[in-house]
């Protein structure tokens, strides 16, 4: 039976009961183990993302940021905390981005500080995605009173203005260090993702193969994680980059407000000290601009990657540039 518009011609191969629809092209996957197959899927997914110019830009940018922070010990010219330089000087050959009012090298701080910022973004993105997956999938799959209850909690988190909540929690747990910042970001950031994943789960659960798995005797957990979960992986990756982006921004925001540990070096605390020392008035623009720009670039890179991940989840976008 001919179905929708574009796909008809693509199905030319699905003919003839009994004969191989793709002929010699089919790689006989005999004895292939799941790990290899998973790697193949990941490779294919990566290629799809890479082929989108915007996403390629994002990937390169993110790789540059991550690499520069990873290699901070070798790249940075000075110890970021050593305050034995002349204070508050502008950019120069020795200090490309100048020094802080405590006499620390800004470029070194930028490279080292990225470690914390990138780490917080990734970890908080990962954790809030995990929660979103757990809550979203089970909430979408199980239809019972418990679902109503979960819905109530999620809606509660959605309607509470997250910035004031973040500030209150962070202020309450003052001096807990990075883990508190991550906790606060995760706590206020998971709800949106779980809502999105829940609606996708609901649409997938009505597909025949999910019913068929129930008929095959699989338990609900197995159905959720073996049938539904892999089919929405791209959405989950999407959600991860989204959450990591907002994590990076929230971290910078919280630290800028002085709610983090102001002795650690991160882009957020750099902004905090820059603001405290009125660097704009002293003409040290680099001190404010550099970390701000880095936070923005980190967020931009992940947002751009998501353009490519969109294409993973929507094959229609993959088929051709209409």
């Amino acid at each position: 039976m001919t179905n929708s518009i574009v796909s008809t011609g693509m199905q030319t191969s699905a003919q003839g009961d009994g004969n191989d629809p793709q002929g010699p092209q089919v790689r006989t996957a005999r004895g292939q183990n799941p790990v290899l197959r998973a790697l193949e899927v990941i490779g294919k997914g990566f290629r799809t993302v890479w082929e989108v110019p915007k996403a390629r830009f994002g990937l390169i940018l993110l790789a540059l940021i991550v690499l520069s922070t990873l290699f901070a010990p070798w790249l940075s010219p000075y110890d970021p905390k050593a305050g034995d330089f002349e204070a508050s000087i502008g950019p120069s050959a020795q200090h490309w981005l100048g020094t802080t009012s405590n006499g620390q090298d800004v470029l070194s701080q930028l490279l080292w500080g990225g470690r914390v910022s990138v780490m917080v973004a990734m970890v908080s993105g990962l954790l809030s995605t995990c929660i979103a997956v757990l809550v979203g999938l089970s909430w979408g799959y199980i239809r019972s009173f418990a679902g109503e209850f979960v819905g109530f909690i999620v809606n509660l988190f959605l309607v509470i203005p997250s910035l004031p909540l973040m500030i209150i929690i962070a202020a309450y747990l003052q001096n807990g260090g990075m883990s508190v910042i991550i906790l606060v970001i995760v706590l206020t950031g998971w709800a949106w993702g779980s809502r999105v994943l829940r609606s996708q789960t609901q649409s997938l659960r009505s597909r025949d193969f999910v019913t068929a798995a129930a008929f095959s005797g699989d338990s609900s957990w197995r159905i959720i994680f073996h049938e539904i979960f892999p089919n929405m992986l791209s959405l989950i990756i999407n959600n991860f980059f989204g959450a990591a982006t907002s994590g990076a921004l929230s971290e910078a925001g919280l630290e800028f407000l002085g709610l983090g540990d102001s002795t650690t070096v991160s882009w957020g605390t750099m902004l905090y000290w820059a603001q405290n020392n009125n660097v704009i008035l002293t003409g040290q623009w680099a001190l404010l601009l550099a970390p701000g720009l880095m936070v923005a670039l980190l967020a931009v890179s992940m947002t751009f990657i998501n353009f490519g991940v969109d294409r993973l989840s929507n094959p229609r976008l993959r088929e051709g540039k209409a």
Partner: protein, 556 residues
């Protein structure tokens, strides 16, 4: 007669990244005269829709016209720009899609759809908008009150009629109907096709009817083009196709049609079912069920009432006081148009839904009262389901091996190598050999028929006693159907399972079932031996269903 459309050596390719482009249409030439009604027949993937899109210049990337010309009224339309094309569509060519009923904007009334067209083309003056659109909906057999309706308030058949009338709004000289009735219910299909035929006669436009169903095409058109693998293999007047087909492929297509009303019905690959064998298999089975648990399904006075969706609406009675038994080894057909409650019965039988009243038992177990997971699990090791759509019944990310191993691990004691052996054995049972190769495949590497075989193998994995097959062949091509039906029939006899075969296709019911129940709006209106009921139907509804089947007759 004047020539309206001439297609010369047309080829259409689908570009795909990293691969050779796929040729969907190859070197096709034909011409149409003014006012001709031509059918374009082929199985899925034959390129018939691609051709339809190409002659109306609606092809979208990755489809690309790679060669040839399409002359419409002497003008080559393959080179027109978008704006020229848009103007050409007024009084030119129009297309009605299979999913045309979903092509309407749900938040705009039907009237607004018409006004949009008039505004875009300016072919009707503003004061005539109303009269013109009224006239158009009346032409397709609708009342003018539908102009005020939103698409969501109309039935599928009505929406398809609306989209036909929208296509008529520009007074096209050429109309392409791409499977206009395939997505509709059997009875509605029949009516909509009737409207299309009448319209074509009245308005005198040239029409191409694209369909996978040779019966529908022969019934309506004067000339038939048969497509196979992107080429036109036969181009002949409808009568000649029927009486004197030249191409082997056409002959093969024709051989898969039969009249369920006939005394003897057979299609290639399926042995004809005569009364003696049928009654023999029914009578012969109960004797061997001595040492086993009784696996008779008994449905007594079952009704299912769905509560009203909105306050103020009436509740819906999907199934009304249905009673039947299905003894081991028996095959029972459950037929009816969509909405007759067939699928609801299947759901209740498999414990997915619970009846509002009445009992369902499997042997000594009450299916209607099962609540606990454990009970449902044990029920499903005895009653299994074969799904309608093989494209959605398999998880695209799991190999055939994984899909088949799950029920083996869940319902049997086989583990490790034994489970794998059983999995391969199942593949062999459904005829997917070499088994090792198929075990490692992913669903997208299989054709529709092969997928459906995997679905059947999965249903057999738990050694069930009852199979519920919900329209198992309706999504498959005509020529693949026979194979799947033969497999089901063979398995039923060989494994002594009983089968509830749910369908709207009376021919397939005639081919593989002994008894039949005809459902209309949840009520059984006729039942009996399949051959008996279909040859001598008594109920009006059964007669209507039978009449809706396009018979292999040409329009006189």
């Amino acid at each position: 007669m004047m020539e309206l459309l001439r297609v010369e050596n047309l080829s259409v390719e689908y570009d795909s990244p990293d691969q050779e482009p796929v040729k969907a249409v190859e070197d096709v030439s034909f011409s149409l005269d003014q006012g001709e009604f031509v059918g374009l027949v082929g199985e899925s993937g034959s390129g018939k829709s691609t051709l339809g899109f190409a002659v109306t210049r609606l092809s979208k990337p990755p489809a690309r016209i790679s060669k040839g010309r399409v002359l419409f009224g002497g003008k080559d339309i393959t080179t027109l720009s978008q704006e020229e094309l848009r103007r050409q569509r007024c009084g030119g060519f129009a297309m009605v899609l299979q999913s045309g009923m979903n092509a309407l904007n749900p938040v705009r009334t039907v009237r607004k759809h018409f006004v949009d067209i008039y505004k875009a083309h300016g072919n009707v003056e503003k004061k005539d908008y109303e009269a013109h659109s009224r006239q158009l909906v009346e032409k397709v057999g609708l009342q003018d009150s539908v102009l005020n309706a939103y698409p969501g308030e109309l039935s599928g058949g009505m929406r398809q009629r609306v989209s036909i009338s929208l296509a008529l709004a520009l007074e096209p000289k050429l109309m392409v109907f791409d499977e206009p009735t395939t997505a509709l219910d059997v009875l509605v299909q029949h009516e909509v096709m009737g409207t299309i035929r009448e319209l074509q006669k009245q308005e005198g436009f040239t029409a191409i009817l694209i369909s996978h169903d040779l019966g529908v095409v022969l019934e309506s058109t004067q000339r038939v083009l048969v497509m196979h693998n992107g080429r036109i293999v036969e181009d002949a007047p409808s009568e000649r196709i029927l009486t004197d087909p030249q191409d082997d492929y056409t002959k093969m297509l024709l051989s898969h049609y039969g009249d369920p009303r006939a005394e003897h019905v057979s299609v290639p690959g399926l042995k004809p079912r005569d009364e003696a064998a049928a009654s023999g298999s029914v009578g012969g089975t109960p004797s061997q069920a001595d040492d086993e648990e009784d696996m008779t399904v008994t449905v007594t006075g079952v009704s299912k009432i769905y509560p009203a969706r909105k306050r103020g609406e009436d509740s819906v009675t999907a199934v009304n006081n249905v009673t039947f038994t299905l003894s081991p080894g028996q095959s029972l057909a459950l037929v009816g148009a969509s909405g007759s409650g067939k699928s609801t019965i299947a759901k209740m039988l498999t414990g997915v839904e619970r009846p509002t009243s009445g009992n369902i038992t499997l042997g000594g177990r009450r299916v209607d009262q099962m609540k606990r997971r454990k009970d449902l699990r044990s029920l499903r090791s005895d009653i299994q389901m074969i799904f309608q759509d093989p494209y959605s019944a398999l998880n695209p990310l799991h190999t055939v091996e994984y899909t088949l191993t799950r029920p083996i691990l869940n319902y049997t004691d086989l583990r490790g190598d034994d489970a794998r052996r059983r999995m391969l054995e199942l593949l062999d049972t459904v005829g997917l050999t070499p088994v090792e190769q198929y075990a490692a495949k992913l669903p997208h590497q299989l054709s529709g028929g092969q997928r459906q075989r995997v679905v059947i193998a999965r249903a057999l994995a738990s050694n069930p006693h009852v199979l519920v097959a919900d329209e198992p062949v309706s999504m498959l091509d005509m020529t693949l159907r026979a194979g799947i039906l033969a497999l089901l029939d063979d398995l039923r006899v060989r494994l002594n399972v009983s089968m509830l075969y749910i369908t709207h296709d009376l021919l397939s019911a005639r081919l593989i079932t002994d008894s039949i129940m005809v459902l209309n709006k949840g009520t059984v209106v006729e039942r009996g031996q399949t051959a008996q009921v279909l040859q001598h139907p008594e109920n009006d509804y059964t007669i209507k269903l039978l009449d809706a089947i396009p018979s292999l007759r040409t329009q006189a």
